[in-house]
């Protein structure tokens, strides 16, 4: 649906852009909201999972007889209970339950269902697994070495010509760009090339994965799952267990954070298989250790970045080589890394090459702007270094080279109206940038890009007899989106926000809807609601026409009421939404709207960040003193929650930059699978996170909305790296820039 220019040009919004209380607020501050682990079903058993202690091992045999002999144990499942039915889901199934090999520390090898948690825990210790331990590799560069241990003897790199004759750990090589980078670099007065490394980080949602599955003897089943996409759960579980989709009803619980990590299945097919085997509902709740070892992390990466510019500050060529490991399966987000690397800039000659590498680490899952922050760390660092070398202000250097409407992006398409110029302009004029750098601090800036997604989306809109409205959503509410849905519906209908209530419908109550991911929810469900509201008000106009005895075309919907369209239509008092709802029964029956769309033109997201920090040379401790997030929201539907997305994404990026990383022992075991040793930012680590919302309307959405969930995790790594450089003179080439690394860098610098 195109932008409704009468709204955005003349700022006619009535409720969109206000900050009402969220509809699910009271449930969530009183402890009443029901999350994944809060569900109990009659006769329920507890499921628990046995995980490989080895990073790479052949499974020679599993003997569960002693576990099954324990009183209270009802079933054990292993790979034998999961038939390989569907080639598309091969990797998913192998990740859910190891087949002949354990591919990482924490890989599921068996699961048990018992009458209590403590019996299930005892049973796990009684399952005997015979392993043949194999050499493991957990680093992307080591995995690419010629003598690296191979995960598979049949992985031949795709995307290279001629096709390789030897197997390797490189699943795929891909390339993006345009122009001639060699010719470009030849013209450059300044060329800087550096190689950067980023550690693997975890999404770190506070709610561990949890589900309850109940499989009935007649082949129908129900599931309660904390997930970003209950239709994805239905699809994966039904296909893995050989069920018709209509026989599996999945209800999404409230979700305690996801950030991309809950867009796939882990424990859910296992719980369903255990329920099928025992004939009783089965609940599985992961421990934090399991979450770290077996779910989600993002890729670690090694990236070479080269940028060349002429003396006048124009970039003449930009090039990057990206190596991302994504665990034991093809599909790391290196493609998105390679696409986003230089997306902020207007470049004549640009080339990115990505290597998708497999390793003995957990299967990577999407994490907020998947693949983008790692390469942005390198690109934004080199951008600053080139600017310094040219003697230019780094912000001016970015403004001179920023992408604009009509720019052919580094990944292919030509941009429509985009917000990077507005973001950088807002940055330059922000109070933060205008203020002097605090004593002892360094200031860093960086920009970031994310595509934003649309996708398949269904909504329902029911007009109640009293004129209130219930909306049914197929997208999961992961961070307060019910409020923005109610706002957009109220705006489109012309009724008060308080008259609209949102429910998240289960998979049998609404049509197929894609997962909440890619910053798509407010954009696409909002668009569907606006369409459904248009259908509803059209029906309301028809009812008024019937009452007034005039043609339907002679009635229009203005400010929440049906009115005669012009003087020729006749003179009638407007009929409000409530009045028409009240007489629905006598004018043709119930009034409802619905909409099923495949939303396109999501509208690219851009952000610009400023960071002031100081580094203690003795301890390497970095204190973030001031931080400002500037981002284009297109149109901020509920500005408080838009700010919340900006702040939350920035905080995650700050954690990635300064402390968070997966640490492995030489034999490939994860050394820090807990919040004490995998340190996400705590309240005392951060200052207030200042926000500036920029609004460059997205022409692809009637209200101008762009997704806002992800973009702001992209700039912090570069902004912090640049601030560290300006505070200490040291260019850090690896994240996290943790105290030990900074202390080592200070020592190196002192030697030199």
């Amino acid at each position: 649906m195109p932008l409704d220019e009468t709204l955005t040009n003349e700022r006619k919004f009535k409720v969109v852009g206000t900050r009402p209380n969220r509809p699910d607020g009271i449930d969530k501050v009183t402890g009443r909201a029901r999350y994944g682990a809060d569900m109990t079903m009659p006769g329920m058993l507890w499921g628990m999972i046995l995980r490989s202690p080895h990073a790479h091992a052949r499974i020679k045999g599993i003997d569960a007889s002693k576990a099954l002999a324990l009183s209270g144990v009802k079933a054990v499942v292993t790979a034998e209970d999961f038939e390989m039915r569907d080639d598309d889901l091969r990797d998913t199934l192998i990740n859910v339950m190891a087949r002949d090999k354990a591919l990482y520390d924490g890989h599921t090898v068996a699961a048990v269902a018992a009458t209590s948690k403590s019996i299930a825990k005892k049973a796990l210790k009684l399952i005997e697994v015979d392993y043949d331990v194999l050499p493991a590799v957990v680093d992307e560069n080591a995995a690419m070495a010629p003598d690296a241990p191979l995960l598979y003897d049949d992985m031949f790199t795709q995307g290279v010509d001629p096709a390789p004759t030897k197997p390797s750990n490189v699943a795929n090589v891909l390339e993006f760009g345009h122009g001639d980078v060699e010719a470009g670099f030849a013209k450059a007065d300044v060329v800087i090339e550096r190689t950067f490394k980023t550690g693997a980080t975890h999404q770190g949602y506070i709610e561990p994965h949890a589900c309850v599955a109940s499989y009935n003897p007649d082949g129908y089943a129900e599931m309660w799952v904390c997930t970003q996409g209950h239709f994805m759960i239905r699809d994966n579980c039904a296909r893995l267990l050989g069920m018709d989709l209509s026989r599996l009803r999945v209800t999404a619980s409230e979700i305690g954070g996801g950030f991309g990590g809950k867009t796939t299945v882990f424990i859910e097919p296992v719980a369903l298989a255990l329920s099928k085997k025992t004939g009783r509902p089965v609940k599985i709740v992961m421990s934090r250790d399991e979450v770290f070892r077996a779910t989600g992390p993002t890729s670690s990466s090694t990236n070479r970045v080269k940028i060349g510019a002429t003396k006048d500050g124009r970039i003449v060529a930009a090039e990057a080589e990206l190596r991302y490991q994504g665990g034991p399966f093809a599909g790391s987000p290196v493609e998105w890394g390679a696409m986003t690397a230089f997306a902020c800039y207007d470049l004549e000659n640009v080339k990115t090459v990505g290597y998708d590498v497999v390793c003995n680490r957990p299967k990577q899952a999407a994490y907020r702007a998947p693949g983008a922050p790692m390469i942005a760390f390198g690109v934004e660092s080199v951008m600053d270094d080139v600017a310094h070398e040219l003697g230019m202000d780094p912000v001016d250097f970015r403004i001179l080279n920023q992408a604009k409407e009509g720019t052919k992006s580094s990944y292919g398409p030509t941009y429509g109206p985009i917000g990077i110029a507005a973001c950088l302009d807002a940055l330059k004029h922000s109070d933060h940038y205008q203020s002097p750098v605090p004593e002892g601090c360094g200031r860093g800036t960086a920009v970031g890009f994310w595509f934003n997604f649309g996708g398949q989306t269904c909504v329902g809109l029911n007009v109640n007899e009293d004129g209130t409205v219930t909306i049914q959503l197929g997208t999961q509410d992961i961070g307060g989106s019910r409020a923005s849905m109610c706002l957009m519906t109220a705006e489109a209908l012309g009724i008060p926000y308080e008259d609209v209530r949102a429910v998240n419908a289960d998979t049998s109550a609404i049509g197929f809807t894609e997962t909440t991911e890619g910053s798509r929810t407010t954009f696409s469900s909002g668009m569907a609601l606006i369409k459904a509201a248009g259908e509803t008000t059209k029906k309301m106009c028809a009812r008024a026409a019937k009452v007034w005895g005039i043609p339907e075309e002679a009635v229009e919907w203005v400010d929440g009421a049906a009115r005669p369209a012009g003087d020729n239509a006749g003179k009638f008092d407007p009929m409000t939404f409530k009045e028409i709802a009240a007489i629905a029964h006598s004018t043709g029956g119930p009034i409802a709207g619905h909409s099923e769309i495949n939303a396109e033109n999501a509208g690219e997201g851009f952000a610009a960040h400023i960071c002031d920090l100081k580094v203690d040379p003795e301890t390497g401790f970095t204190e973030v003193v001031r931080y400002t997030v500037i981002q284009d929201a297109g149109k901020a539907v509920h500005p408080s929650y838009v700010e919340g997305q900006m702040q939350g994404a920035a905080a995650q990026g700050i954690g990635w930059a300064l402390n968070e990383e997966y640490i492995y022992s030489e034999d490939g075991r994860l050394q820090n699978p807990g919040f004490l040793d995998y340190r996400i930012p705590v309240c005392s680590d951060l200052p207030m996170l200042e926000t500036v919302i920029v609004e460059v309307p997205n022409p692809g959405h009637p209200f101008g909305v762009r997704g806002v969930g992800e973009t702001s995790i992209v700039p912090p790594l570069g902004a912090i790296g640049n601030a560290v450089r300006n505070a200490t003179g040291m260019r850090m080439l690896e994240t996290p820039m943790s105290p030990p690394r900074l202390v080592a860098a200070f020592r190196e610098a002192a030697k030199a």
């Binding site: 954070g257 950030f259 961070g479």
Partner: protein, 162 residues
């Protein structure tokens, strides 16, 4: 399996339950007593999502054995509002959009109330350090700190008016 009978007070009500010797207070609250407002984010005392007040002291209920609460008083998130009236902290959390997913919210509220019961006029730094044992991955803490400071102000004003 030998159970232990425990008599205690939870949110002002006398409660009796039977628990296993190795059972945590968090498991008892959630799985036996239906008080699922306290959340398990880690089970090792690192995240604070299971925060409760035991005899006036803020604790992680995942690090307390259920058997330990014999004869003591426990306050959980379910006891924070009085009837229909929310505690000012609860209201301010909603008004300031201090929650996104909400899983950490009960723990933050219990911890923040414990702070304001001791220190009605905390500085931003005091709020940040008191709440450093509660992890939130959604908000970056900004709006949480603002909500706590605003609730503290409102509580002080109400006290001064009284």
């Amino acid at each position: 399996m030998s159970g232990k009978t425990v008599t205690t007070t939870i949110n002002g009500d006398a409660v009796e339950f039977v628990c296993g010797a190795d059972e945590t207070l968090l498991d008892t609250l959630r799985d036996r007593l239906g008080l699922t407002g306290s959340k398990e984010g880690c089970g090792t005392g690192d995240c604070g999502a299971c925060s409760v007040v035991l005899d006036g002291r803020l604790v992680c209920s995942c690090l307390v054995l259920a058997a330990e609460v014999e004869g003591r008083t426990v306050e959980t998130i379910e006891g924070m509002a009085s009837g229909e009236e929310l505690h000012p902290l609860q209201t301010k959390f909603i008004e300031h959009a201090a929650l996104q997913c909400g899983i950490c919210t009960p723990g933050f509220l219990v911890a923040a109330k414990s702070l304001l019961d001791r220190n009605p006029d905390p500085t931003e730094t005091e709020v940040r350090y008191w709440l450093a044992g509660n992890l939130c991955r959604c908000t970056g803490y900004d709006k949480i700190v603002r909500a706590v400071m605003d609730a503290a102000r409102e509580l002080r004003e109400a006290k001064n008016a009284a």
